[in-house]
Symmetry: C2
Subunit: 127 residues, 2 copies
């Protein structure tokens, strides 16, 4: 038993729009995509730094955060310029939930909700 | 702007029990832990293969999947022995949602719901 990777898989309503959004916000490139009955059942995206995440259209098994009224799982993004990343995420259609600012625990950090209801904690270590 | 990492952060009700569960199920070791007002606001765990994830106790900002009635975000775990991993996750208190079996898309895969409501897709590529 060897766990090699743990990859987040976002449930979204509107996978095509989500792929565009994450392309604009993160510069994420689509690496793989499978469709069934007109819905995206699996898509894999890679950001320029090499991190990978996946997404799928909501279905009977999995509802998206907007439908649920929450998400139960956040994503922390380590980025060397969280101010710039928050701007890009907002410009592409996201909403800043918590402003990017220096935190007492040694991180410059904020939180952005993307148009699909997912929330991203973005930060970089500070001195 | 360089995204270095995307780290899943699970919202749970009962962070201490969750840390124990993920220790049993994945062999995850606690790397960092911060508390405020008796709640875990941040804990970081590392699995033997090196993958990292975080968790926090549910609070007013973030509800856990059991409270929400869903999760909106799944985690895909690549493991060389998903049958064994599913057994361990179930033995430690999880529930098998989808049996581990060979799938037409070239993966031996199943899905397990942990005691905190998070769902883990576990799989390994097959020929």
């Amino acid at each position: 038993m060897t766990i090699e990777q743990i990859i987040p898989k976002l449930v979204v309503e509107g996978a095509e729009a989500a792929i565009r959004y994450y392309g604009e916000a993160f510069g994420a490139a689509l690496r793989d995509r499978h469709e069934a009955d007109g819905r995206v059942v699996f898509a894999e995206l890679e950001v320029p730094g090499g991190a990978v995440f996946q997404l799928k259209d909501a279905d009977q098994l999995d509802r998206d955060p907007r439908r649920l009224g929450g998400r139960g799982l956040l994503l922390t993004v380590m980025d060397n310029d969280p101010d710039r990343l928050a701007e890009r995420m907002a410009a592409a259609g996201g909403e800043i939930v918590i402003e990017v600012a220096d935190r007492p625990y040694g991180v410059r950090q904020g939180r952005v909700r993307d148009p699909f209801g997912h929330e991203w904690i973005i930060g970089t270590p500070i001195e």
